[in-house]
Assembly symmetry: D2
Homo-oligomer: 441 residues x 4
């Protein structure tokens, strides 16, 4: 990746001039904890590359380190802020809501915190959704709940109306928890805010269970998702070995990237085939997947297949018409497609198989965060508050090289992180499964 | 139910004349533990009914109590026995295998225990499946494994070939773990054994995750199934409340009975609608399900629906042709059918909903047993061994009024237990959900 | 047990004359669901015993079946009721609170439901605890919380003051969730109520994680407790096999009975020794436990021991003084006592062992109920409401021969259920562990 | 930390000259995957520091990146290697054993893999422990087992005897999974190997559930430990809120560092006090812990305290004698010490409390790894194999800034990682708990 041309500077609403309430007093420790803006975390940390760059006079790309600043932009006693959660469910959303509320309330003394209901819809008057007044006592017990206490929705809404609502509500910081679409909307919202001369900070916390936000090494909920996905794989394995020529086929989330599929396969090491969007594969032909699967069954009597939902989308281009005629109930669903293809392949070869298809997606998205994600989310929420209070805007709270950092929305929105087919993760999957390329010449 | 005409006598291969090795010696306690054959457990235990019957000179129906007998039929040093597991996976199958092996090996000293692979197929030479020699050390660690270490298969096989194999292998006791189909096969096998003048005991352990074996109050794996099903319901609930007009639709197992659906709805008390095979319902019309669902959404903005796979099969009679045309990929699947019906209903009413469909069946069947089923299975296995060693045959090990009992196969095979729509279970579901009858006049 | 002399009649405050709101109307099913008072469940259900009794003119003992009655005693519109939870934590307490509130509010229309805080203390003015107004919305989400939302406390309080408070609050039904001590208090409270000519129904729901309430086959929370206890046993097993001469020693709850210890040992079948209060054992001597343990280590290199907290109390009689001198921090704690004895025994024999002591008690008591207990508790709560509304008093909701029944407090309070050393449970433990009697002549 | 003087160079047995079997052939992808030795990961990645160093002509410290090398030192067909696991149990040990066996067997073709039993004892003839022949089929199913299939032991053994055994067994690579003591032994073993002119590579995989290995950002098993620890905290919270003045006191692992205590407190955000070895605290006095606890109880009626086992060791210096007299059963156990101190403090103030003490340590250590640790361990095992095959020695496989790296044993052994009282982790704990310093002037 060419990080060098990437913009890594963080915008601000103005100069923060108010002394942070976090410093001083009895807990003097905290004052040492303040992060200066010029503390930056290198993006590429391979030593030799780095030394070469510096010696050649280049400045190696880096991200601003997240954390509390000694001076803040907003006056806590007057500030009103809002939280909105958008898109699909993801474990940890409630953790972040709780973490934001606790930090901004107890550490900064901000008392007006509003929860916007049902995603961006909540900003649009015609939907008539109410606004929730968030207090520590209303969120203290939400850690063990899956979903989002604010509710969510999908789809775009009028940027103008959103900004109007923010204005009317007199919001100073808007915390947006959402995926790539939400970040795109967030960028437009900040544009409109700027154009309108408003002083509203927009802080994004990237949410995608697929873990495919560009320049963000890990998104919250992913660890939990892998946890639960491995249980589905165990089940598939038991079904596969339980019958002659048993096949367990699991579809996991991952529209554009196969992180959940690949990582879960590594966690539960009895997967035999992993199919992901990043790696092309053929079904037919001597090296095609179906033929390899047949060989595997011949040798071992069972097989476990994990397929990411975005894998093999090429098949739908050619098969499209056919599917439309049959009612189009499951358009472009690679899981059902594979199920049908495998079934008819073995039928045509007169080989009896026992295929079990498992789609645990909604059971994964809707669970509460595990311990690891609880912690991760508590940091994300706190650092989002620090960034917002400092008047920073148009940024994401990300995680890079094990540090929490500020990432400009422009550096991430509209691009996607993908599995490198030559990288450690995918090659480890190849080792663990022993699978081949499924590509004919 | 008319229990009175039911045959409750247990057949035996002959008179047991060998002193059980369980009695005597240091563990003299055990000898007190022997259960005489005439210890019987009443089937109907309502006091007044019972007293009336006895006074009128009738003999109230009862089952033989399971447990070790003081005299056994088979000579342990010569006995060879076999275990076979048939049909769908169910939590606890491995527990029962382990329990049988441990009890017959350590308590009775039987050393030749064979595991038949892949269900009834394992008896049929043409499949070429091997036979597994089962020893305590090979099954000691299988408790935490889901599935069946022997494998399973569905479908009938030639009774003649099965009996031939038993004869060739010189089997004395055949333990059959399987559902209603298996019990039917077992009955035929015992017929053929009898006709052939063979001395082979056939002991069934009824397996059906649906818990619908007639005259058996609880089958193993059911408790575990409900455990896991409640997790799916929690997920569905989170999805439902997460979106405006959110609907969580979960299909649970239960072809002919709704025990898992009803019981899980009681365990996880945020289900709003439960649809089961035993209770008819309409979709259309003023009191039909769709209209009631609309009212619910109007009032509460979300709904959680649990449907047993065998519910609403009447819809497929009329809609059959239509479905056939569309490829018939998921014939008679009430889950997808409801999903389609709900979706098009609200589309036609121009109401935006967010429906999430969850089918956790294979994730439920394939898990290991929970603690409760571990214990239950360990008793089932042990009592199966005691019955077999005593030369009893053509019987099931069942559980009735909290006692383990011997049930003649003829009393159970081919009939099904169903939820009583006027009974405590279903009426509790009605209370818990507050749901109505969904029946137009 | 001699059930025959036991009083099984249920007291009532008066004749119920009000038509139950559960019957009639649209849900006409419910009316068929009403249980007449003369529907009774036999206590001993061995067929031959029973027939003999009836033929000899005796009336076999039975319990009244629990469930809704067609006529009720209290006018729902005027009724005020209270719930109190006493003694140690137990999984499922919140389930029962929720079930009572939902049933009495929605089915009967009672709107004044008070939660008494911190057990019996909550009735005593000097403690100054507040009373909680319980509504469906305040308890709807408490299923997944461990503990008791009302709080609890131990110890007796003045019966007079309790009854005064009930009077002042104008309570009609008091639901008491508690153990043996609470039932004793409940009996005295009903005495005082009677003497005072008050019309207050007292309905007990027996709570004891030890499962040792007399005449109650299963108490809520027990199934969950066994679930969690098996996890501790797995850990102990791993520790034991992880080291040369590794010993895993787990102390489980069970002051007067070893049900949790015995049942958990059956669930997790790698326990080698189970010590319970009901079965005496020696430590020293050729057949004593220490010597047998040594032999086991010699043969198998590891051992897992489960001890119920009430086992071996005889050792404290002789060792008492010695313990007092050493500070008496953990008096009569058989876990630490065994740990010390085993350690010094092997030290004296110059054998190196690696003993790990695990006491999971507080981790077990404090978890939320599992699915099975969720269901069980929801029935207990509902049947408690039905009994109370019908004006019944001085009774427990119990479970016997798989039916929910009414048990007079007098039949149970002050007695304890114990493991029968000749019964199926304990002999199964002997089989599963292979353990001996640990008794010298 | 002064990384600059730290030795980061990795020793090797000689130049690797054999072409790695991983490259070439059909899976040509893999060849691109080879990591050159000069790919190094920066240790400190703060951008400005780094740039300054380079500009001043210094070489910033870095670690060699782990992964497969294109050339290897050992001939796979002749190589014999051994695995030993030492010290306390830790989730993931079996994962690493499995990962090593699979990688070295399938990827490199090494067939002779020996499992040394019971830690370093297994090398010493006098103990008479056998050696286990490890094959993929013998380790394929060990992922879900806690503990170590090889067993472990504590304590030093003769370095000479160990090296003699290695020599006799003709071992080429020794994989040592163990904590700080093991790494010290490993260093001595490599010294003796070198002195003896032997060609034996020693590769360490640092194991400490406390996560306190110096220069290693995360050790395996830690994530799982936090997972389970949070369950104990939930229980303690339920016990605390369940009684008037309820106190839940949990002791967690952490002899020299409080990582588990601090991290678990962040995961389960209802902890009120965290006590760790790195932060001194007073018990007595106006700002002492006991006084602060009293204030908390006065305000909130309950408190949850997490204490790391190594916290407050200073108290044992003064109180030592007293403890010795009382039998010295639990010397220097801060958990029991705090329990006693809190109890007597409130007794002396005549305040009734209800304290529950929970020590889940052995239940935490002995569980199987969670999904996250499964994956982490699979990488550690594979990278250990790659390092060993390349002839590298005297190194650890570590994780730093999100990369797997080679760390010289000398850089880590004998030092410990500790929580920085001014760092993000601890200050987040202070925020989450709201706790003060507990230090009098």
């Amino acid at each position: 990746m060419d990080y060098n041309s990437m913009d890594t500077e963080i915008e601000a609403l103005g100069e923060p001039k108010i002394l942070s309430p976090l410093g001083g007093g009895e807990k003097s420790l905290t004052s040492q904890y303040f992060i200066p803006d010029n503390t930056r975390i290198l993006i590429d940390i391979e030593s030799n590359k780095l030394i070469k760059m510096v010696k050649e006079g280049e400045i190696p790309p880096s991200f601003e380190k997240a954390g509390p600043r000694s001076k803040i932009f907003f006056d806590p006693s007057k500030l009103r802020c809002a939280i909105v959660t958008c898109g699909g469910l993801c474990p940890g959303v409630n953790d972040i809501i709780r973490s934001i509320v606790f930090e901004i309330y107890y550490s900064y003394g901000v008392q007006n915190i509003y929860g916007i209901r049902y995603g961006l819809q909540g900003f649009i008057p015609k939907y008539g959704h109410d606004v929730i007044n968030l207090k520590p006592e209303s969120v203290v017990n939400i850690l063990e709940m899956g979903g989002s206490i604010l509710g969510s929705s999908r789809g775009a809404q009028s940027i103008e109306e959103i900004v109007n609502t923010l204005k009317k509500m007199n919001i100073g910081i808007l915390f947006m928890i959402g995926g790539d679409g939400t970040l795109m909307a967030a960028t437009k919202i900040t544009d409109a805010i700027k154009k309108g001369g408003l002083k509203i900070s927009v802080v994004g916390i990237p949410k995608t269970i697929d873990n495919d936000i560009f320049m963000v090494s890990r998104t919250f909920g992913f660890d939990t998702a892998v946890d639960i996905a491995t249980q589905a794989i165990k089940g598939a394995h038991n079904e596969a070995i339980g019958y002659p020529n048993g096949i367990g086929l699991i579809k996991l989330m991952g529209r554009y990237s196969g992180f959940i599929a690949a990582t879960s396969a590594l966690a539960q090491q009895n997967v035999n085939f992993v199919l992901i969007p990043e790696v092309d594969f053929d079904l037919e032909g001597p090296k095609g997947f179906l033929n390899v699967l047949e060989k595997r069954l011949h040798l071992r009597k069972h097989a476990v297949i994990v397929v990411a939902e975005g894998a093999g989308q090429k098949f739908f281009e050619t098969d499209n018409n056919e599917r439309d005629e049959s009612g189009n109930i499951r358009p472009r669903d690679i899981g059902w497609y594979l199920k049908d293809k495998i079934t008819s392949y073995f039928e045509s070869r007169n080989i009896k198989i026992s295929l079990k298809y498992i789609d645990p997606s909604y059971m994964i998205r809707s669970v509460p965060a595990n311990a690891n994600d609880h912690i991760f989310c508590s940091f994300l929420g706190r650092d989002a508050v620090h960034a917002g209070m400092a008047g920073k805007t148009r940024l994401l709270i990300g995680h890079w090289n094990n540090y929490f950092v500020h990432i400009p929305m422009s550096a991430s929105a509209g691009k996607r992180k993908k599995i490198d087919p030559n990288g450690k993760l995918w090659l480890s999957v190849l080792h663990a499964t022993g699978q081949d390329s499924f590509k004919n010449e």
